[in-house]
Amino acid sequence: MRKIAYREALREALREEMRRDATVFLLGEDIGRYWQGAFKVTKGLAEEFGDERVRDTPISESAIIGAAVGAAITGMRPVAEIMFGDLTSLAMDQIANQAAKIHYMFGGQAKVPLVIRTPFGAGVNIAAHHSQSLEAWFMHVPGMFVVVPSTPYDAKGLLKTAIRGSNPVFFCEHKLLYPLEGEVPQEEYTVPFGVADVKREGSDVTIVATLYMVHKALNAAEELEVEGISVEVVDPRTLVPLDKQAIIDSVKKTGRLVVVSEDCKTAGVSAEIAAVVAEEAIDYLDAPIKRVAEPDTPIPFSPPLEQYVIPSEKTIMKAVKEII
């Protein structure tokens, strides 16, 4: 099968959905013809669809999301880009109180079919305001789906599902994933929400990981195999809805769970996944659950500091060995 990069997979999803449905449009800072998106996801789209549908905005994150909300409840399907995930903090009211709650507050009268795309993640030395992973904030907001694709295939399929749905979707990308290549079929497909993907089968321990951490988990799994430890890597692909069953099934099989996520440990993604298992599948566990996450610090700038706080193959392997 042909291989394309994650950013191209996202772009294909946008292009195909925009061709299919005239109500789909994009807005965000510098996504248009002059800059083509900070990570070039929207490259070429303004040329094809025009500046109206690939809309550059002023630097006004709150109004960007508000614009998407207003458009969504009146018949459009906006896809808003927030240039860096850290900056969603500027639009938190529009995201959490407006976009996510409107359907409920108004008793189901309005649909809010909007997608917010944004890149999270550290690793490129751009420090505390451009490197965070904040998925957990959005998981804690009822009324919104939270999507975390780790491969080009998932990225394209999930983004198409997101755009076609009737609900607000918080679509998390990862800076280091954009150039990553992977197989993506030419033919039309979508990936449903709430269905995890077992990225590697194994029998001794389950690693649940998301986004870039899936790849680190896979690397760690390979190294551990050499040492005779068989690791299953489960990628939930969407955090809300969460495919609890897939996680529990895997834990039933392995009896051991390591949750790997790049965000700060306290009250992060890994806390929720650990809690689900502690609540619903504790009897299958033969060892404590391990969380591998960023220690609770802002992301530092200097390369040795930054590398120290990002979960690595090494820290993942260490965690696995601690419970084997």
């Binding site: 905005t57 207003g70 529009q94 507050m105 009737s166």
Partner: protein
């Protein structure tokens, strides 16, 4: 307060239109008084922010709108709903938390919406409606219809960052939005003149390169006229206007507020300046309507609101488990 000399004769409006405006204002007034009464009887859960005294704003603006035009609203939204054509009985039911309310009891006083008449809902986050209204304007532009959006917000909201961001975007993109600031002098206990140095919120339009007008918000025709111009502009694709309506709330901010921060004379002046009384006098003076007609309208409106209250009171509460519905579409 806007001086007497700005009082004008009715515009070049049909008798029906004049009566319509009067009737709507009265409907809102009666409605709010009924809410107040029910609240006193402990029938209204939570809090309420009454529109009493500000009726000319919603009615003057919405009088220019078509059913398929949109509005966005605030925590003080009952008047906006009714002015845009929502049914009082279903608004009342919502305020009482009943299943027959527009939001099935999920929203309450601060979150009423009636999408069927283009009422896109009230947000209780001060200032949060401006970007949403702007987005509805963007949607209109992208869908190439000739609708417009009227966005209501308070003087207090004009100090929020969303005011700046949303109006700027609407201006730059020439969106069909009418930003209507209901300047009722206070945001809770805070006088607007203590949190803004310029005289008028409308003066801020300059920063966005769009028209800004301050009007007597207790003169329904003045509001109507200003809105008419803004709506025309918007429909023609010439972009947004900021209209500031100087008005006053007759009651405290919310039900519990005795509003002691307001000088007595100020309150009295404004009570004398009641928009409904003023318009009625004008209609009578200019012989547009006769006293008997007015009385007939008053009776009809009053009966209708009684009906609405009855409907709301007799409606049942939603079943508890309905709380779990409508999280996702």
């Amino acid at each position: 307060m806007i001086a007497e000399e700005t009082r004008k004769l009715p515009l070049n409006l049909s008798k029906e239109k004049n009566i319509d405006l009067y009737r709507k204002m009265l409907e809102i007034r009666c409605f709010e008084e009924k809410v107040f009464e029910l609240y006193a009887q402990n029938l209204v859960p939570g809090t309420i922010h009454l529109y009493t005294g500000e009726e000319a704003v919603a009615v003057g603006v919405c009088g220019n709108l078509r059913k398929d035009d949109y509005i966005t609203s605030t925590h003080r939204g009952h008047g906006h709903c009714i002015a845009k054509g929502a049914q009082p009985k279903r608004v009342m039911a919502e305020i009482l938390g009943k299943k027959t309310g527009y939001c099935k009891g999920k929203g309450g006083s601060m979150h009423i919406a009636d999408f069927k008449v283009g009422m896109l809902g009230a947000t209780a986050v001060v200032g949060a409606g401006l970007p949403i209204a702007m987005g509805a304007g963007l949607s209109i532009k992208l869908r190439r219809t000739d609708n417009v959006v009227a966005c209501f917000f308070g003087d207090g909201a004009s100090n929020q960052g969303t005011f700046h961001e949303a109006i700027n975007m609407a201006a730059v993109w020439k969106l069909p939005v009418i930003f209507v600031c209901e300047n009722n002098v206070y945001a809770m206990g805070t006088r607007q003149s203590t949190v803004m140095l310029v005289k008028n919120v409308a003066d801020r339009a300059v920063a966005y390169g769009i028209p800004g007008v301050a009007v007597d918000g207790n003169d329904v025709l003045a509001v109507y006229e200003a809105a008419q111009k803004a709506v025309e502009m918007a429909r023609k694709g010439e972009g947004p206007t900021l209209i500031e309506c100087k008005t006053y709330r007759h009651k405290g901010h919310s039900r519990i507020d005795p509003a002691k921060y307001r000088p007595k004379e100020e309150v009295e002046d404004w009570l004398r300046n009641d928009p409904i009384k003023r318009f009625k006098e004008r209609l009578l003076e200019t012989n547009v309507v006769m006293e008997a007609e007015i009385q007939q309208i008053e009776r009809k409106v009053s009966a209708e609101i009684e009906e609405a209250a009855k409907f709301a009171m007799e409606s049942s509460y939603p079943a508890a488990e309905e709380a779990l519905q409508d999280v996702y579409a």
